[in-house]
Each structure stands twice: as C-alpha cells, then as structure tokens.
C-alpha cells in the first residue's frame, strides 16, 4: 500500500511542483507494470520531462529532459517519487506502518479506513518529507529539506 492509489490502470495526476517563486506544472502518469511501477511526467503540451521506474521501492529516472538533467535535480526528484510511490505491507487492523529504506531513511505511514492518509520521511532523526492524502483524489507531498511542494489531483477520464 502507498499513499498514491496506483494500480495496473493508468493513474493521471494533475501535478504542480512549486519551489521558491516558480512552479512547474504538468501531468504525472503512473501505472503498475509487472513487478514495477512505471511513470512519466509531461507538461500540458505533451513535452516529456522524465520517465521513472520504481522497483523494490527504489526509483530510477530515465529519459530526463536536458534542462532537468542535473545530478541534484535527478536526486531530489527520484527520492521524492520514491517516497510517494513506495509501498508498504499493512495488515487489515494496522493504523501505522514503517518502511525502512536504508541509509538512515525511513517512511512512517498513518492509516485510516484501510488507506494511507499521511506519511513522513525521516532521515536520521530529521523529518525531510511529508505526504498527505487530502481526499480520494487530492494529494500533497512536501520536500521539507528542499522546500518543494507537489500538489497532485487525480484526473478522471
């Protein structure tokens, strides 16, 4: 289970990434494919910013658009996508769960009604990220360290 409602059907998320005074908007497309989760971020005009694959809760970016293709941007985006789309096993009666990511990073999930409603990313002893399920179709993810906010709304066909 992850904070995002991913399945083998295509999930389309209207996405706005805000940082300082600027914003990058577009569509995040994600779906489960075999044992991996695959996705892409495109702008409204169809220009692809990057593709990503999450396998065993590890995210890898591919086909990154040249202006985004800087190591620090790739690292930030892939760690945030990994946080958003990593999945944790939960038993039916669980109200919380923890996923240890290694390198001192762990994800802490709060559950309600069988869904993840909140998640926190802890690096060492510091909270570096948090994610909220605002309702059935709206999500917000904050990278506290880098001061980035991802606002995502499910696009219904």
């Amino acid at each position: 289970m992850s904070i995002m409602p991913v399945s083998d059907s295509l999930l389309r998320l209207r996405t706005a990434i805000s940082f300082k005074k600027a914003q990058l908007s577009g569509i995040m497309l994600v779906k489960q494919r075999n044992d991996s989760l695959v996705g892409a971020f495109i702008n409204e005009f169809g220009i692809k910013g990057f593709e990503f694959v999450v396998t065993n809760n590890h995210c890898k970016l591919t086909n990154v658009l040249s202006f985004l293709n800087k190591w620090y941007i790739r690292r930030t985006i892939s760690s945030d996508l990994q946080f958003m789309f990593s999945s944790v096993y939960v038993a039916e009666r669980d109200s919380s769960a923890i996923l240890i990511e290694g390198s001192g990073v762990s994800y802490h999930y709060s559950l309600a009604g069988g869904k993840v409603v909140r998640a926190q990313r802890i690096s060492g002893t510091q909270k570096t990220g948090e994610a909220f399920c605002l309702n059935d179709s709206a999500f917000e993810v904050n990278n506290i360290q880098r001061k980035l906010t991802y606002k995502m709304i499910v696009i219904r066909p």
């Binding site: 209207r14 706005a16 695959v38 495109i42 169809g46 692809k48 040249s66 696009i155």
Partner: protein
C-alpha cells in the same frame, strides 16, 4: 530561470505533429513544387486574418504502453495574438499577445514579457511563425523538407538549434491541399515518443473578440 525553461518547453507544443501524414504515399517535392507550396501557404496566411479551431492532442508514451489524449480550442488573430486553451481532461490556458504571455492553470496564473530577454522573444517569434506557417522558410532554425501526397503536403522540420535538437528529432507540419492550413503537427522526441496535434472545425476569418487575448 525555471520560467524561461518552462517557456522553452511550451513553445514546442505548438509545433508538434502528424503520423497520419505518412499513411499516404509521400514523395519529395521538386524545387518547382516547393515554390508553389510556399506560395500557396503564404497566400492563405495573407488572406487569413484570424483562425479558430478545435484540436486533439495525443501523446504516445512507450514506457507506459499508453497514448494519452487531451483536447481544446485554439484562436489566432493577426498580427501576433494566440490563445491555446485545453478544456479536457484538464483546464490550461496559454495566451500570447502584444509581446506578453499568460499561462494559467487551476491554481496559478503567470505572466511574462517576451521582450524581457532574447529567449522569450525568439520563442514568441517561433510560436507565431508556426501558426502562420512562416517557420517553414526560417532556415536559421530548421532544415525543411517538403513531401507531397495526394491530398496533403508534409513539411518536415529538423531543428538546427542545439537546445531544440536535444528535445526533438523533427517536427512534421501537415497541410491540407484543400485549404493550405495546418491540418496536424507531430513532434518526435529523441527517445522515440511522439505527440500529434490534429486540428478540426477550422474557421478562417471568423470574428474573434480581442478580449480573449487580454493578458492584463
């Protein structure tokens, strides 16, 4: 910086194009045909003071084995007014007018001055040039190949500019021989995915209010 970069992306949009064009046999145009094609497109541009049409945009994503579609309306009015509006499945608005640009989504509105730097100016020139068709003859930015079919003409534009080359292999503009307006645009990315925008219900010289291009 991000604004500029986003802009760089945005302009590409408009010039994205058409696989369908290759469903019919296309042969390279002779020099005489090329001159004739350019003359016909230019004539249409001179006569068309405004253009309103619907569009459907289809984006192929091989990593997802999916094609995603969106649709909207486009308005163009001489000299340099463009409104590009997505209606489904999301709302998104792009207006270029009087040297300024407005970009609006559900949560935010941004405005830019195209004269504030060289990149803005160049992008706005290319955008308007694409709609008008005079991008075809701008051989500073693109190598153009003309291909002739039974009912269409395809102009294959290969970018010369380094930044554009990183983004796309080529752009195909498909013109209908019946009205010499752009029928569809295809952009092929370096990775192999493409975006096709097909224009329908074209209205030439229909009265369009200046209000829809208002930025301030």
């Amino acid at each position: 910086m991000i604004k500029y970069l986003r802009f760089q992306l945005i302009f590409l949009l408009i010039f994205v194009g058409a696989n369908t064009a290759f469903s019919q046999a296309l042969i390279p145009a002779t020099e005489v045909q090329k001159k004739d094609i350019l003359a016909k497109i230019s004539k249409e541009q001179v006569n068309a003071n405004s253009l309103e049409c619907k569009f459907v945009q289809k984006k192929k994503l091989s990593v997802l084995a999916e094609t995603v579609a969106s649709e909207g309306v486009m308005y163009f009015k001489k000299d340099n007014n463009l409104r590009w509006q997505y209606n489904k499945p999301y709302r998104y608005l792009f207006i270029l007018s009087g040297g300024k640009v407005l970009i609006k989504n559900e949560s935010r509105t941004d405005k830019f001055d195209t004269n504030s730097n060289k990149m803005f100016r160049e992008i706005s020139e290319i955008m308007i040039g694409g709609v008008k068709g005079n991008t075809l003859v701008d051989n500073r930015k693109f190598d153009a190949r003309f291909l002739v079919g039974a009912s269409t003409v395809v102009v294959k534009l290969t970018p010369k500019n380094k930044e554009l080359k990183q983004l796309m292999k080529y752009i195909n503009l498909t013109f209908s021989k019946s009205d010499w307006l752009v029928k569809s645009i295809e952009m092929l990315e370096q990775g192999g995915d493409n975006t096709v925008i097909t224009f329908t219900e074209k209205n030439v010289n229909k009265k369009i209010s200046d209000d829809i291009f208002r930025i301030n």
